[in-house]
Symmetry: C2
Subunit: 422 residues, 2 copies
């Protein structure tokens, strides 16, 4: 792998809510993955409190180590929001009231049928320097800031996720695209039903491993993603990655369910669109997660019309017509019950493909023969009149068992549809 210098970034999140663990730091992953796609590597992500000396220490450190710094949080109107004042003091800048920012704040409040308070005027104060550019926040009242100091770029955004995302999309990404060159290339291979160690073992036995690239193994809910990356000049680096992909593909072909997808739901919805298939689902243990994941994808209404959460035994009978005798003989968590759930869905809907899942997500409800984590899931195509059903055993807590079951059901469908469909 060559050593071309590439642009790097640090992300600094300011605020107690991340340090107390009550807010999951989705902002960082959003920023980092956005940068990754643009060829900028994030070298460090740091979360610290609303504390002047810590903010300054980390900022100074990062300015020594990296080119681009993203700061989120601490831009609210209340006294625990320090970021703007701290940065201005540190860089020796004054704040100035900006009437156009105040107009924007008033308009945002009006849209929500509220009136801004005196304290919101604080948010209309902006660093008075030509080295600080305002970033227009279309989703909230706090403007973002872009400092250009000592040839380093510092982007400052609110910590509220949708405000941060809108600033990234509308203001920062276009700037980065125009001003920083694209110099990283990677592709992902998503595998299932094989462990990280077995994958490594198979790949590393190949005489050319690591195929002149950097290879990383990323454990995921559905299995392991093999990431192949290379830096440098576009033509050369892309060629190396693509050749590595072909070799890896030939080594573990039967374990691969897709390349370069963002999530199983993303891939499944796009496959169903191509096939002009409509999907319907009946969920027991996953309790709506499967359908929630599907409907997170914009445009999913093209392929998804309806589905059922049949959580209780009664509802499996009353909604999906599962035979009460099947339930009492085999239990709700059984191949027989899931099979009849599929039959019920076929009868109740006009879907081209139906799927169903029933299992024990825990923490209670397990037994010796069916411990927590036992899941039956499957699908059926209307035109085939055949059922594809499997028993799974997932480890983890309630939420990770739900996630694994939902992902696995999607992956089973993806694998089948890719193989069997034209």
């Amino acid at each position: 792998m060559n050593n071309t210098k590439i642009n790097t970034s640090h992300i600094i999140n300011i605020g107690d809510e991340i340090l107390s663990g009550h807010t999951i730091n989705t902002n960082s992953s959003y920023i980092a993955s956005t940068l990754y796609e643009l060829g900028i590597l994030t070298k460090k992500i740091i979360a610290i409190a609303d504390d002047e000396s810590e903010i300054i220490t980390e900022l100074d450190n990062s300015m020594k180590q990296t080119d681009i710094i993203f700061i989120t949080g601490g831009l609210g109107p209340t006294n625990d929001d320090l970021t703007k004042n701290v940065l201005c003091r540190h860089f020796g800048l004054k704040l100035k009231f900006r009437p156009e920012v105040w107009d924007h704040i008033t308009a945002i409040f009006a849209k929500r049928n509220m009136v801004p308070d005196e304290i919101n005027r604080e948010q209309a104060l902006f660093p008075d320097s030509e080295n600080v550019l305002p970033l227009q926040n279309s989703a909230g009242t706090a403007p973002g800031m872009h400092f250009i100091i000592d040839a380093k770029h510092i982007f400052v955004m609110p910590g509220v996720p949708n405000e941060m995302r809108s600033l990234m999309k509308e203001e920062i990404v276009p700037y980065i695209k125009e001003n920083f060159s694209d110099n990283l290339y990677y592709r992902d291979i998503n595998t299932t039903d094989i462990s990280e160690s077995s994958l490594y073992s198979i790949l590393s036995k190949h005489p050319e491993f690591p195929f002149d690239c950097a290879i990383a193994f990323l454990p995921q809910g559905f299995g392991v993603t093999v990431r192949v990356k290379n830096f440098g000049k576009a033509l050369e680096r892309n060629k190396k990655v693509d050749s590595a992909l072909i070799i890896i593909g030939s080594l573990v072909n039967d374990k691969i369910f897709t390349y370069d997808m963002k999530s199983p739901q993303h891939e499944l919805v796009s496959l169903l669109k191509k096939l002009h298939f409509r999907l319907s689902a009946a969920e027991s243990c996953t309790g709506g997660l499967f359908m929630n994941n599907i409907t997170n994808i914009p445009g999913s209404s093209e392929v998804f019309s309806e589905g059922f959460v049949t959580y209780s035994n009664d509802s499996k009978f009353s909604i999906l017509n599962v035979n009460p005798q099947t339930l009492s003989l085999n239990g709700a968590v059984s191949e027989e019950t899931v099979s009849e759930m599929l039959d019920g869905l076929m009868a109740e809907t006009k879907a081209d493909i139906v799927c169903a899942v029933s299992g024990i997500a825990g923490p209670d409800g397990g037994s010796v023969s069916k411990p927590v984590g036992t899941v039956f899931a499957g699908f059926s195509l209307r035109e085939e009149k055949k059922k594809h059903l499997r028993k799974f055993f997932f480890t983890g807590d309630r939420i990770s068992i739900k996630e694994k079951a939902s992902n696995k059901l999607m992956i089973e469908m993806i694998k089948y549809l890719k193989k069997e469909m034209p």
Copy 2:
């Protein structure tokens, strides 16, 4: 607020998957919130790459600044997993093969119907020192490590979330409970329908603000949480926080929907249990998220039997019997449609309380009269024969609109059930 010294921690996450943004750092929030409950404040969370010099730099830094350090990641069997070797080199320790760890690895593989590879033997190597204690990993093959060096505690765990969680629960929390004193106390007040700035403005006008406590404002999907905290001796600090709570309660009483809850679904499920109510839901724009959130709560099957995702117009008619004329006259996103969805649910289920939601989550489908973010949601109690319906307007992207709609519907029910029920 007094200044009693309290134990603090740093969390260091090692691995490319967080820096590339493809994995959301839920490990840190899990560890930080667990520590918070135990009275230990996390001062910094750092994510860095699998890179020897960066790991050492951050570790040395943290050992100077804090008492307890949590490291996750880089314990897998492959060549990009450096943590164990780096720590051993840094502290001058040798690795030794531990047969009992190897037995554990073999057993875990057997449970998954797999056989360990030669490369997994690497995971049975453990630092040969009485200052390093093994942490038993019941969910995976990599043992955790507890270094006690210069009176600092370094806990090292795998990055796979359910393995990390099981190590925290089974090994680390009991150790911390026994060895570190509890010296932080906080309580949360969850508000809705009021902005952070208005809340601050009302509270700060009180002559005793901040009531001898630290007050933080945390924006959430459902509104703003006011967190009141105090450190020090148990009796005194608890008294101060509880008094502050009473004052704040009297100042913004009508905006508070609950105290100290972890999530709206947590509160709603526990309320329904108390009332012996069963709930059923019909979701359009939220696409299963509402039911997924409900069924994330262990024991939710006591109060939740079934529900429907009626995404298409056809399904609102065929499953819930919404009048096609209602749909064509008012649209799927209308008070009239949601009202008939509630009627349909009452007829289709035996639930004591039913709820329904329909809206435009975007990015497409908005219009001038009903822009993206317009949501109608409501609920109805069987014994009352009355409908509680509201129109909302949420900002943000598709996923945050879904989240806000689901949370808001839960909060509306919580507020009503708390006020009206005995």
